[in-house]
Symmetry: C2
Subunit: 578 residues, 2 copies
């Protein structure tokens, strides 16, 4: 006589253990799968297909601009029941406190978030972020609940050169039996072989050859389908070339619009199938493969596993009817209210600014114009160095919007040592006004670009007033469009649909004043001082090629002195000291 | 400029990560694989194929009758570089002390032995073994180095009934993130579904349907190729039906003759390929699949992994040229001497016996013969109940070798509470003399069968003198043939070839006095009181069907009283009290 259970689900099971589709009921009791067989049940559910809940192998919730509880409400209905979350941006703002807070957030949501401890905070010592995570803090965080890995190790040169801090973090993870995530864009050949000794996986491949080389040296390869990095279609033929058990799907950075319009990691599963992947293998890449990589207790449908199930109308299009997490049906629906966040909401702190604070004093001996170094935002996240002439008015260098030469300022916003970096940017397209954001990778200072210093100061002060966010300002009607992101200055506690609408409003407003389509996204990377070529930090303009500050103004002898002229290790007067 | 390394191996790599054969050199430095690529090297090795060292997923070294260091010398040259060893027999003799000793043994051999903690010691409370492992001791042993799992859980009825001791052991393993090995012969349907909630794997399948059912419910299925259980050929079609990542190869119990003549787990790989398995999948089943199941750091060839490699002349026939472990070439050859064992060698302790000690007093009112219950050894490990008439001489029941009715005695040999169980056995075939062994699953008391009590006493005393072993005695020329197994009374510290020869000598001697071909093996299971039907323990004859002692002598009214007559819970006079 078989024991009665509380729930029986009937349908075709996507058995990720065997790789087969099987007619097989799933019996659930008290949140756990107790049998793959008939049982008398209080409740029967029917589905065309039953799959394990999906796992996003690597993601940063910050990219969605909502908190983890709100993110859960957005993706759980799509069949995403777990994410492996690297709180890299939160850590750059609030350090270990932030990491602990987001781990607490996860305990209050049905989504099973697991965590990797950010390994590369700060990105460099050229900028002042809100916090750093030295090896001792990383080690302490590795002991926190639901931590499954050391987060993506980005400092590959340091790793290869034997940098003690990098290796201390890797060792700390290994000693605890945890996975070590890699971040190896375009790392190849000898460097890849060496890095693979220490790292377990990589999600940065953009070509099939790159992914194949990584798989061959034993790395677990993640096929990424994010917002700016959509690599899945290119990499999918790898499933024909190597044992798929060591392939996973991830989103990495996926923006609010993509999540609302297309979904999270469920979109990657759907797309993989549409692109020709075997449906069961596609599901395996977002369930058991990832679970095995991080030693997660779910991601499969078998007796003893938690009842995290997706009930599908159709497998190939990933059309979801219902979702169970620990046996609970559609846990984010019907009166469910996402929990408030534990992450601080008062992280934007700097003295109010006025136009002169953001202006660059013209060098001695200028005429009516001066040559300056300009960050040329050429598309994607890339920048090129550029030299241009800008007008001098009242002793200051001023933007020249009719030639798309805008002023740029990066204001230290963590209540630290202060400092405002000033410079010029080309490519954002503003005709008037200003835009700004407290999302400014990785230090997440306050970045503002504008056609005049007054508008820029207004935007900066608005961002301060909001405790962070994204703002566009049109001086013609003195109107702001704002998305408040008070959670670490990166995220909102509002529902994702609200954030989506407000973000669209800011984008429209920015477009009205002339901003290029991808301008807001590019803006948030203009301060990332580890991607070539020019970037602006709160300490001044950086030439990433050699990791040195450079003057904004070009001295008269530059051409004679060659390209290395004006290199310096301390900021010039385009930076205000605190 | 690439760093020079100490060793470069050239050949076709069996890449178990990708599932492909690839032309790819393996660069090794200081025992670790540092690259799958060209490197300047102090030493170059060439092979037709390079595979990771093989792992036996489940084995008991005791079955080989040699210590782990000697076992290593036997199998490492075949490309076996690791075993997952369940010291179940050692634990039955010397408990936690024995488990700790064999773990110490492993530290002194190149073979990378990992351990599972025996979960089912004793097999029952009907017999007195040398030691027990209650939950607290099991829990303590789970903390020992190189322990990777709770050993095969045999008490499935207890598990299903919620037995607290069984579940305490399972929980202790789970809390430590360790695997839980199963032992589920013929467990099916609801029982299997329930057992699968707690257990991770099983190696007991004998039919394809049985194995398939286990795979379907998420169990990692081991295809076994032991000495008495050769299941590989039957189960191999499973590789066509399910994702092979969750299949492994194991030997379980493999005897000295098979190991010397055919090999260890390497034989299973060879046989799988011969039976039609894809060679790379066959290697995966004895390397990465097992490594992932137990979270072992080897079993794959990739940068960062230990250099455990098999250099093969031919892949399909698994013809081995050389073996590296941690980069050391053929570590068991050239002047290598296996370490002495840490396991006690003085475990056979009982007072010397004489013929009357082993004889059964005839019941009152007997004539010249009496009816007795006989263990009928029908082949394999099975026994059937049998009733026969034996002669009465001088007031004792005596064997009747001309009808293959031999006397049997089980002497408590652990220096415990003593007790000699006495009975009769049919099917061993002895014409004269006696045979005996201190290998007597699971309690490993001293078991002796013979055509007369004097010969039996001589054999028992010889076993005591040897500190354990296997002995055959021919009274015609008063000659013993002996294999001394002083290590826990189960194993020898001598090289496996020596043990092989001595065992052959004992077998020949036993054959000379009429013993059936498989008699010695059957003898060592006649005391295993958990396999139906009749078994003899040191406490008397047991009917395993209901786990009760029964009288050897059949009372006159038995037929009228039905089959349950003579059931009792305390031994009768066929058992000597201490």
């Amino acid at each position: 006589m078989t024991q009665p259970v509380d729930t029986l689900v009937r349908g075709t099971l996507v058995n990720v253990n065997t790789g087969n589709l099987e007619e097989r009921p799933v019996a659930i009791d008290d949140g756990t799968i107790v049998a793959l067989d008939e049982r008398p049940a209080e409740r029967e559910l029917h589905a065309n297909y039953i799959a394990p809940g999906l796992i996003d192998a690597h993601m940063h919730v910050e990219s969605s601009m909502v908190t983890l509880p709100q993110y859960a409400d957005a993706v759980v209905p799509n069949g995403v029941t777990s994410v492996v979350h690297d709180p890299h941006e939160i850590a750059n703002v609030i350090g270990a406190t932030g990491v602990r807070a987001v781990i607490q957030d996860a305990e209050q949501t049905p989504l099973k978030a697991r965590f990797t401890v950010p390994s590369s905070v700060p990105a460099s010592d050229l900028q002042d972020g809100g916090a750093t995570l030295p090896p001792d803090l990383v080690t302490a965080l590795l002991e926190e609940p639901n931590v499954v890995a050391l987060g993506e190790v980005m400092d590959i040169p340091g790793l290869l050169a034997g940098d003690e801090d990098v290796h201390a973090k890797v060792r700390a993870a290994r000693e605890r039996g945890l996975t070590v995530d890699g971040h190896m864009p375009r790392v190849t050949g000898d460097d890849l072989q060496e890095a693979a000794r220490y790292l377990d996986n990589d999600h940065e491949s953009i070509t099939l050859a790159e992914a194949r080389e990584k798989a061959d040296v034993g790395l677990h390869v993640y096929l990424r389908e994010g917002s700016s990095s959509k690599n899945l279609a290119e990499l999918l033929p790898l499933t024909e070339e190597v044992d798929t058990r060591r392939l996973s799907l991830c989103t990495d950075d996926r923006e609010v619009t993509d999540i609302v319009d297309r979904g999270g990691i469920d979109f990657a599963v759907r797309k993989a199938i549409q692109e020709g992947a075997d449906p069961v293998e596609a599901v395996q890449m977002a369930t058991i493969n990832t679970a095995e990589n991080y030693d997660l207790p779910f991601g499969k449908v078998e007796p003893g596993a938690p009842a995290d199930l997706v009930l599908l109308e159709e497998l190939d299009s990933w059309r979801v009817d219902d979702v169970l997490i620990d046996g609970e049906l559609n846990p984010t629906e019907d009166g469910h209210t996402p929990s408030p966040t534990n992450i601080p909401t008062d992280t934007v702190e700097f003295p109010s600014v006025s136009a002169p604070d953001l202006a660059i004093t013209a060098p001695d001996g200028h005429g009516r114009g001066a040559h300056v170094r300009v960050i040329d935002a050429v598309g994607g996240l890339q920048t090129e160095p550029m030299i241009a002439e800008v007008p001098v008015r009242d002793g200051t260098l001023t933007p020249k919007p009719n030639e798309d030469l805008l002023s740029l300022a990066v204001i230290e916003r963590h209540g630290g040592k202060g400092g405002i970096g000033r410079g010029f940017v080309h490519g954002l397209g503003l005709d008037r006004g200003a835009v700004g954001s407290t999302i400014a990778h990785d230090a997440h200072n306050c970045v503002v670009a504008g056609a005049d210093y007054t508008a820029m100061a207004a935007v900066a002060n608005k961002l301060k007033e909001l405790d962070g966010g994204v703002v566009a300002y049109d001086p013609v009607d003195d109107e702001f469009a704002s998305l408040a992101l008070p959670v670490a200055g990166l995220m909102s506690s509002e529902p994702i649909e609200t954030v989506y609408e407000q973000f669209e409003t800011v984008e429209s407003h920015a477009a009205r004043i002339g901003m290029a389509e991808t301008g807001l996204m590019e803006l948030s990377f203009l301060a990332l001082e580890v991607i070539p070529t020019y970037r602006l930090t709160n300490n001044g303009l950086v030439d990433v090629t050699d990791g040195k500050y450079v003057d904004v103004t070009v001295s008269e002898h530059t051409e004679e002195q060659g390209p290395d002229a004006d290199r310096r290790s301390i900021p010039d007067d385009s930076v205000s000291e605190p």
